[in-house]
């Protein structure tokens, strides 16, 4: 079977699975899976850029996804005027102070001679930290005390929410650049631990800096790019069209909204996929793979390995940021408490490895397939458990326990799938060409 036919078959199977969900369960569930599958595919593309193209071991995906979500709030929510006048200027001053202190420390490190400079840098940093806190803390408490039950944060720019998608990418890229500058010199294991830590820190910042996006109090009711279902149901024209198609207006409205999201996500995915394909086939892509396969040789050929690594780390993280912004838009809320590394970092890695690292279509396929399984393992597991416990009496503690624990089958299944693919098809379902 040719590569192309194999790819087409695999995608047909996944399409069949999603359509099957529509027929067996409901079209709403099918569209839900499709929409999150599209988002997952974008995330997998980002990770594939870093790991598949360049061999960078980034397990901080969750952090960049969350930054995309943060961007959604910062771009789309209306600004809170009272909070701005309460402490924005002072807050800005504090942040400027922090940047100045860090810049001064870096400058001192570069300009001074060895010996005393360690102490000087430490002194600058400590003094800068206390100055920063002295200016920053009152501003934060002023902002957070503005109507804390509903706002207590600066709000956003009040722009259309779709603009948050590129903004999420930019925000993630900026942070990735900072991280890459410091951490990319590290060997793969160390880079993995470093990125794992950075992701936790990003989540901790979003959770705790309430002035930015309300922290664990969550921002709900984000503006939507699609109309609300209830408005559609009250629109006589829409109801008439739905009736013409033989669907009741409630179902029709939910399907319409989900389809709309799906179309928008599909456009983003298509654009990114085309770009990634072009990049892979360009001289730049070949250089990346050369660096991945033999760093020393590439360096000897005069390639600037560090700069190329930084470049692709920023690009891949930006793609994850875009996906994160899309996801938060779809959810309509930012809930920092729900970001967990197993779901937002390691699951994306399973998608890339299972799909086929180094192959963009493989990553997209993995995104859809693994997301489908992640959602469907639970009902399937439920059915299996019901069958397995059929012989036990109803009050049996083991039966109760087994039925209650079905939700944890997910993690188990993902691990088994990852290990099976690594063992029997280490290059993934669609191997790199």
């Amino acid at each position: 079977m040719t590569e192309r036919a194999r790819g087409a078959l695999m995608f047909a199977i996944v399409a069949g699975l999603i359509l099957g969900t529509g027929v067996v369960q409901s079209w709403n569930s099918a569209l839900l899976i499709l929409n999150m599958g599209l988002v997952s595919a974008v995330m997998a593309l980002g990770v594939n850029l870093q790991w598949g193209f360049a061999g960078l071991f980034n397990v901080g995906v969750m952090g960049f996804v969350a930054l995309g979500g943060l961007a959604t709030v910062l771009v789309s929510m209306p600004p809170v005027g009272a909070a701005w006048s309460a402490g924005a200027a002072r807050l800005g001053l504090g942040l400027v102070l922090a940047v100045v202190a860090i810049a001064a420390a870096v400058l001192a490190w570069q300009r001074l001679r060895a010996g005393l400079r360690g102490w000087v840098v430490a002194a600058v940093l400590v003094a800068g930290y206390f100055a920063f806190r002295a200016v920053f803390d009152p501003a934060v408490s002023a902002i957070e005390s503005v109507d804390p039950a509903v706002s207590g944060y600066l709000g956003g720019l009040g722009l259309p929410v779709v603009l948050a998608w590129p903004a999420g990418g930019l925000l993630a890229a900026a942070v990735a650049w900072l991280i890459g500058k410091t951490a990319l010199g590290l060997r793969s294991d160390y880079l993995a631990i470093a990125t794992l830590g950075i992701a936790e820190i990003i989540i901790a910042v979003i959770k705790n800096e309430d002035w930015m996006a309300r922290g664990v109090k969550n921002v709900i009711g984000l503006p939507r790019p699609m109309p609300y279902e209830i408005d559609l149901q009250n629109d006589p024209g829409f109801v008439q069209t739905a009736a013409g198609l033989g669907i009741d207006p409630t179902t029709a409205s939910t399907l319409y909204v989900k389809l709309g999201y799906g179309m928008m996500f599909a456009i983003v995915l298509a654009i990114l996929l085309v770009l990634a394909q072009l990049a892979l086939k360009s001289p730049w892509g070949r250089m990346m793979r050369a660096i991945r396969d033999n760093e020393t040789a590439a360096r000897a050929m005069g390639k600037d390995v560090t700069r190329r690594h930084l470049q692709i780390f920023v690009l891949g993280s930006a793609v994850c940021g875009v996906a994160g912004a899309m996801m938060t838009t779809l959810d309509g809320q930012l809930t920092p408490g729900t970001y967990q590394p197993l779901r937002y970092t390691f699951l994306i890695w399973v998608m890339v490895i299972v799909g086929g690292s180094g192959n963009n279509f493989g990553a997209v396929l993995g995104g859809f397939l693994i997301w489908f399984l992640w959602v469907q393992v639970e009902p399937i597991g439920q059915a299996v458990m019901n069958l397995a416990t059929l012989g036990m009496s109803d009050g049996n503690w083991l039966k109760v326990h087994l039925l209650d624990s079905v939700q944890h089958m997910r993690l188990l299944t993902m691990g088994v799938i990852l290990l099976l693919v690594l063992r029997f098809s280490p290059k993934g379902l669609l191997p790199e060409r």
Partner: protein, 337 residues
């Protein structure tokens, strides 16, 4: 003088004693990570969940013992259950090695592939643990709560500040000392231990001199099972058991191992304490201690908390980064970066 003593007691109560206990737990965890890195040559992402699994086995046996009315008096019953927990954990790990890791070892794959494999193992362990015991908090400490109670200490010394030492903190430190001593005796004095060190230093040379690699690997996994279970149980006794927390322990544990120098057992212990003291020290509100130590006029108004406790991951991470940037092989010259 009394002021100074009061400050010292407050410092011990809120910083020194908790940090020593936490540091011992991290050190035991980091020893496991560093041994795997030295012998099997990869960073084991499943280590946090290995600890969780071993602890879970211990908890289940503890409940069984409590159900039968067995107890250790003032000490927690879990101490009796630890050997069973280690056995359960060792069985799981050896099964994993035979079914999964050995295949890749024979193929001599790149270390990073093994790291990805350990991600899969992490998912499975995590799922198994949650499947059996659920995701909730489990408190399984029983026996006497305090070695020295805060009030007793105040009555005894007449100071304003009280010092409380929890039984679990005492047990943590004593157990950690015993385990570390036994481990170093094993590595330095026994034939098997020496062959492990030889294998870690130079694999080819060790193979030439007739060391059986499979045996070294098996012994390593057994030690790792014991270290992980003990570290996990001590942490669980001291705080509480929750599968997700154990997964998150991965970060400080790795930070400890890397700061000390991956592959160096001594470094792992030093790293554990460096991380623990920095974490506790930077997230502690120093108002009370400084209030005793500084003259009245200089006494601070605020809490003097350098960082909110939610940023404790940031502490491990920043130390990790500083060490990696300025001394890439860690404090104790581990494997080269």
């Amino acid at each position: 003088m009394i002021e100074f003593l009061n400050g010292l007691v407050a410092l011990s109560n809120f910083v020194l004693i908790p940090a020593v206990a936490y540091g011992s737990q991290l050190a035991l965890g980091a020893l496991g990570v560093t041994l795997i890195y030295g012998i099997l040559r990869f960073s084991n992402f499943a280590h946090g969940d290995t600890m969780a699994f071993g602890t879970m086995c211990t908890i289940l046996v503890t409940w069984g013992l409590q159900g039968m009315g067995v107890s250790l008096g003032p000490l927690p019953t879990a101490l009796l259950a630890i050997p069973f927990g280690i056995a359960g954990c060792a069985a799981l790990i050896l099964l994993t090695d035979r079914m999964i890791y050995r295949f890749y070892r024979r193929q001599r794959v790149k270390p990073v592939i093994l790291v990805i494999v350990s991600m899969g193992v992490m998912f499975i362990y995590n799922g198994v643990t949650r499947f059996i015991i659920g995701t909730g908090d489990q408190n399984f400490a029983d026996g006497e709560r305090f070695l020295i109670g805060v009030r007793d200490f105040r009555d005894m010394t007449g100071l304003d500040e009280g010092l409380g030492v929890r039984t679990t903190q005492g047990i943590t430190v004593v157990t950690a000392l015993i385990v570390v001593a036994a481990l170093f005796w094993f590595l330095n004095r026994t034939r098997t231990g020496k062959s492990m060190r030889a294998y870690s230093d130079n694999e080819d040379l060790a193979l030439l001199s007739g060391i059986d690699p499979e045996r070294v690997v098996t012994v390593t996994w057994l030690i790792v099972a014991a270290l992980a279970t003990i570290a996990g149980v001590l942490y669980g006794l001291d705080k509480s058991f929750k599968p997700f927390t154990y997964f998150q322990l991965l970060l400080p544990i790795f930070a400890a191992a890397i700061v000390g120098g991956l592959g160096s057992p001594l470094g792992a212990i030093a790293g554990g304490f460096v991380i623990a003291f920095s974490e506790v020290g930077l997230t502690y509100a120093w108002k009370k201690v400084l209030g005793y130590w500084l003259p009245q006029s200089l006494a601070p108004d605020g809490l003097v908390q350098l960082m909110s406790t939610d940023y404790k991951f940031a502490v491990s991470f920043v130390i990790l980064l500083i060490v990696l940037l300025f001394r890439p092989t860690g404090l104790f010259r581990g494997k080269s970066a």
